[in-house]
Symmetry: C2
Subunit: 356 residues, 2 copies
């Protein structure tokens, strides 16, 4: 890690002093950028883009050419693991992901292989190595995976869902089968993140995008258990140092204390809780990442700036804040507004770290 | 109110002693019932059903013929007010509500009329009177409205939304216009609920279905302010007694204390917080309504029973609990499972009220 020219992200995730608050943006490589849309068109399909290491590297780097961001995040999809397990991921334009072979029985769960990430997911590892090489130490590269529970929702529902009836029916009606599925996914996610780390990822984030649809008891039993297994199973990087782990569970503000207790390094926080309140609750155990409402980027630049200031104020003085949105940036954002956000963090945050 | 044969709901909403926990179900008159689907088909369209007092009365009463529920809730749509304001509500099969004339400018907001509920919404008042007459005091009738913020989301987005970009763009970018819209809606909602009360509604519920998509500061400014105005503006019933007001803000567990401070009588709680924790936070200021995950009804009956028991246990002993789901019942539920739920509440709850 010593060769990183900009290590603000890593330092902030470790609650170490920084000159200013680091900033990156969930889905920073995405459809709001015309240069992304051009490459996406060239690739032909979303999965063709994800599985092409050269193009995945290119779109990963695009936002860094526009904005002085403090991290790159691997461009990929959260459903690469179930695809590697043989479920057949595909995308219907405008409708999100689908699986050709959703999980529809305990037998289908028993048949799921444990994918070797250097075989079925080697396209991801090739992209990680290529991005690291291109970044040349300018900023760290964040790897990521979906959480077991979130992957399970797509695998059982066959795609996106509104009420999660099938997967919750499994969870409430056949809890042993649900645990069998989640245990396999926790193994696969751990393997996958360790392979990303071995290939060059310098921090990792687990997205539990749908943890918030569970009751507290169900969250603890069916999501948190497996997040804990992943945190416990992440290995040090090639340099022997611990790799920071960020858990981002959308809609899970009720579970921040329990998530901090996993031993992760940082928690992503969505915009429905102030960072000040989150910090009061978890103390200095973890860093916090977030949490501007992505919709603020649809407002005029002066509003973006005011809201960035309010977010920095809410976290307050001291270390352990990574600036981000509370969820992914949306396709309808004007990139100039993101420039305003990044500039405002750079300008306003040094005062929070003992600077002017 | 003295003539009610079953006044458990009203007593529980007032935190008065009851022999057992009352139970009703959000969207209890709905698509999971074959007899509802038959009437819906007969009506031709969803709006035709809503605007026909005879048919609206019939579907309101259907679930009470099957299950010993402790309340009826008016069958209607949450978007009747914007429709009465001239936005032209219609439904696209399988895609939810749409408006022909969404709010697209401050001028469009200024043009919005204040609808007289006994004129443009008289079909609702006719349904209320008819249902009261048919119920003949067997159980109370709950009236309802969408909240100003929730109505505004549909009016500005033109229908359902995923990211609420347009309405949040208004809120962040043109807050004065947003307040102008919300103030008009708060007036209209207050008029509408008072008209329902005058027509016979014995309790009212305000649904803030989308309060949970706002940041804490935005929730306070753009939703809570107007919920407060409504609570302040609700008039006593024809018998001179206060009519209990239930606020149900989905995804707003972070705001329970503030919602209780409005002076409402009860808070609906979704399933992502335990009732025990909710009760610990709001104390005896308000009754609590909820909060079983609707997806539990997709599990086998023995699981439904266990989860009902867990919900009753979580609230604990004493008064002020109205059993309900944490959101509406879904169309894929087997009605027999709802029978199991209602029976389980009747059987297991007397022990929580000093009974055997």
């Amino acid at each position: 890690m010593s060769q990183l020219k900009n290590d603000r992200l890593i330092r902030a995730l470790r609650r170490q002093p920084v000159d200013r608050t680091p900033v990156w943006i969930m889905r920073q490589a995405g459809r709001y950028l015309p240069e992304y849309r051009a490459i996406r068109k060239q690739a032909g399909s979303f999965m063709a883009l994800c599985t092409n290491p050269e193009l995945a590297c290119e779109v990963t780097l695009q936002p860094l050419r526009r904005f002085p961001l403090d991290a790159a995040i691997l461009f990929s999809d959260i459903l690469t693991i179930p695809d590697a397990m043989g479920l057949g991921l595909y995308f219907v334009e405008g409708e999100g992901p689908r699986f050709e072979q959703p999980i529809d029985s305990p037998a289908a769960i028993e048949r799921l292989p444990r994918p070797d990430p250097f075989e079925r997911l080697d396209y991801v590892m090739q992209a990680v190595r290529r991005i690291r090489s291109e970044l040349d130490g300018s900023v760290p590269l964040i790897g990521f995976s979906g959480s077991p529970w979130t992957l399970a929702t797509y695998m059982v529902e066959g795609g996106s869902s509104k009420n999660f009836g099938k997967v919750k029916g499994l969870l409430y009606g056949q809890p042993e089968a649900a645990h069998a599925l989640l245990a396999r996914l926790a193994e696969a996610v751990t393997d996958y993140l360790n392979a990303q780390i071995e290939s060059g990822a310098q921090a990792v984030q687990v997205f539990d995008s749908w943890g918030g649809v569970l009751s507290p008891a169900a969250f603890n039993e069916f999501s948190l258990t497996y997040l804990q297994q992943i945190v416990d199973g992440i290995r040090p990087g090639p340099d022997g140092q611990r790799v920071p782990i960020i858990l981002f569970c959308k809609g899970c503000n009720g579970h921040l204390e329990a998530l901090a207790d996993t031993g992760c390094d940082a928690l992503g926080v969505d915009w429905t809780l102030t960072l000040g309140e989150a910090r009061r609750r978890v103390g200095d155990r973890v860093a916090l990442q977030g949490n501007l409402d992505p919709a603020v980027l649809l407002a005029p630049p002066e509003v973006v700036r005011t809201q960035v200031a309010a977010t920095l104020d809410s976290f307050g003085d001291g270390e352990g804040h990574v600036f981000n949105l509370g969820h992914g940036i949306t396709p309808d954002v004007n990139p100039d507004h993101l420039a305003t956000l990044v500039d405002a963090v750079a300008e306003l945050s040094p005062a929070r770290h003992g600077g002017r």
